[in-house]
């Protein structure tokens, strides 16, 4: 069943066309991984989905409903987001980061929110860090709080924008571990990531975006083993080389 559908999405800044007609659809419980060179428009694409950025042309449907017909705060409650540089609320503890949306947006009472927050922090393995402030956490821990914060809102879809690129190599594993668990548990995820191991093993579909267009899209094995486009081959080849 289709959860998210993009139809000819276009976006430009001044005279720079960042997205030049992007279309694809993903089902519930899909894990869609997007790869592409820096500046190809991946972040912009994600931000269009929760309307942190407004598109110029085209349409985006969430569960059959055009997202511009949905109240933006409502939309964002239904679509979670995990940021490259975490963006944890610096003045709140790990728990406080998770509870803010629960109380201010979902209207939960404080005790309910705390209970739920602790539950989600436990799921990402941070039950014992609930009272720590962001400045007291490692990068990997911060990102897991970021994931718990998004998850706790019980979204229909979560957007991941390069969640591991700001991490030291030894901390990447713990975040990918959490993401794998989510994928296996049936969370619908739209991920921009260059972690090829994760893409191979967890993605249901892999999309190669270049210069604001979808160059190639398909099951990960197909794109890795025999891509149709040369550009896909050379780009994925570079990434896999880097991994070794």
């Amino acid at each position: 069943m289709t959860l998210l559908e993009l139809e000819g999405v276009r976006k430009s800044y001044e005279d720079e066309d960042v997205l030049r007609g992007v279309s694809f659809a993903m089902d519930r419980q899909d894990v869609e991984v997007i790869v592409g060179p820096s500046g190809s428009g991946k972040s912009t694409l994600l931000r269009c989905v929760n309307r942190l950025t407004e598109i110029d042309d085209g349409a985006i449907y969430l569960d059959g409903e055009e997202i511009h017909g949905i109240d933006e705060n409502d939309l964002r409650r239904r679509v979670g987001m995990v940021f490259q540089d975490f963006n944890l609320f610096a003045h709140r503890t790990a728990r406080g980061n998770v509870t803010l949306g629960l109380t201010a947006v979902l209207g939960l009472s404080k005790p309910e929110a705390v209970e739920r927050a602790d539950d989600y922090l436990d799921r990402v393995g941070l039950a014992d860090q609930a009272d720590s402030y962001p400045a007291e956490l490692s990068g990997g821990q911060k990102q897991r709080v970021g994931i718990a914060r998004a998850l706790a809102m019980d979204p229909e879809l979560i957007l991941f924008d390069e969640p591991t690129s700001a991490l030291d190599p030894e901390l990447i594993g713990e975040v990918l571990g959490v993401m794998r668990d989510l994928a296996e548990g049936g969370t619908t995820m739209l991920c921009v990531t260059h972690e090829m191991g994760f893409a191979r093993s967890a993605a249901s579909t892999l999309t190669f975006l270049d210069d604001g267009r979808v160059v190639e899209r398909g099951p990960p094995e197909q794109l890795f083993e025999n891509p149709r486009e040369d550009r896909t081959r050379s780009f994925l080849g570079q990434l896999t080389d880097l991994e070794r």
Binding site: L52, N73, R76, M81, N87, A90, L100, Y133, P134, A135
Partner: protein, 349 residues
């Protein structure tokens, strides 16, 4: 007038009223702390001793003479007798006379002793002036803050019109002298008579109309400076914070309210301390619109005794005590509300 939208590069984006009092060298800091405690104990006791509300309370309890609010400011006596200092000064003076020109140091000691004697006799009047100074400052800071927060938010997050209004207000207030502003409010506008009509009659504990006008003036003035500190603090909050708040589904208002302001106001505390200290000092200008504050008490004593230099030295020390203790207390507050990674205190990442 387009400064401010983009913060000036460099260390300090705000046009401020200058840097803090600054840290005293190590041991002197401790001395200030000890002296400050003694000073405030004395000052609070002095205020209580002449407080009409407390007087009413204790009279009702059967101690009519414990609190002396009925005594006029000039009739109040010091608690430390002046005579020993005076006598010591005279004795030292004789020695100095005997030493002749070589007695400069001794002569200086005599002056210090004289000054101490003078300080003890004038202290009660100064204490009553300090009370006015403190309430002018504290009330104006708080009222000013109430205006400054929306002003700063409008400046950073408002639309074109709101931004322009906020900018014009702060630029006009900060571009003209405080004393001119006070004169405008007090002599130029009929504010004083309005204040009197609404009940600022000067019957204790209600302040006089002039004091009400001074509070209005200081509030307006201080709100402009406070809003600059808060604005630059808001701008120093990482924009990703608001983005993240919006991504969770908070409205822009909620994002500012729950995420940006709690961080921004913490960043603003050092600036706020600065402004507090500034207002303590600048509240002395209220004397020129007849408010009986610390400086005006000193000035009155000066013109009665003709000991101008002495009284102004004493009142300078008085202000220093107020300013330094405030700066230290605000430093404590800052430590107390500090959160790791937010604001000046706490470990950096």
């Amino acid at each position: 007038m387009t400064d401010g939208e983009t913060a000036t590069p460099g260390s300090d984006p705000t046009e401020t009223r200058g840097t803090t009092v600054g840290d005293l060298p190590g041991r002197r800091r401790l001395a200030v702390l000890a002296a400050g405690t003694v000073f405030w104990t004395w000052l609070l006791a002095r205020w209580a001793y002449h407080n009409s509300l407390l007087d009413g309370l204790f009279t009702a309890l059967g101690f009519p003479d414990l609190i002396r609010s009925e005594r006029g400011v000039r009739q109040r006596e010091g608690w430390i007798p002046a005579e020993p200092f005076g006598a010591a000064a005279d004795a030292v003076g004789t020695v100095a006379a005997a030493l002749g020109p070589a007695g400069v140091l001794v002569d200086w000691l005599r002056w210090v002793l004289d000054l101490a004697a003078f300080a003890t006799t004038t202290a009660p009047a100064l204490a009553s002036g300090a009370f006015v100074t403190v309430y002018l400052t504290v009330l104006s800071m708080l009222f000013g803050l109430v205006i400054a927060v929306p002003l700063a938010v409008a400046r950073v997050y408002g639309g074109r019109a709101l931004r322009a209004v906020s900018l014009a207000y702060t630029e006009l207030i900060r571009g003209t002298p405080l004393l001119a502003q006070l004169f405008f409010l007090y002599f130029g506008l009929p504010l004083a008579s309005i204040a009197e009509d609404v009940g600022f009659t000067g019957q204790p504990p209600i302040p006089r109309a002039a004091a009400a006008v001074a509070i209005v003036g200081f509030t307006i003035n201080s709100s402009a400076y406070q809003s600059e500190y808060i604005r630059s603090a808001l701008q120093s909050v990482d924009p990703g914070q608001l983005t993240a708040a919006r991504a969770v589904g908070l409205s822009k208002f909620q994002g500012i309210r729950y995420v940006v302001l709690p961080q921004g106001l913490r960043f603003a505390i050092p600036g706020w301390t600065n402004e507090f200290v500034y207002l303590i000092k600048y509240s002395s200008l209220a004397a020129f619109i007849t408010v009986p504050d610390l400086f005006r008490q000193a000035r009155n004593i000066g013109s009665e005794t003709f000991q101008f230099t002495n009284i102004y030295v004493v009142v300078a020390l008085f202000y220093l005590a107020l300013v330094l203790t405030t700066a230290i207390a605000m430093g404590r507050l800052e430590d107390r509300v500090a959160i790791p990674g937010v604001g000046q205190s706490g470990p950096r990442e």
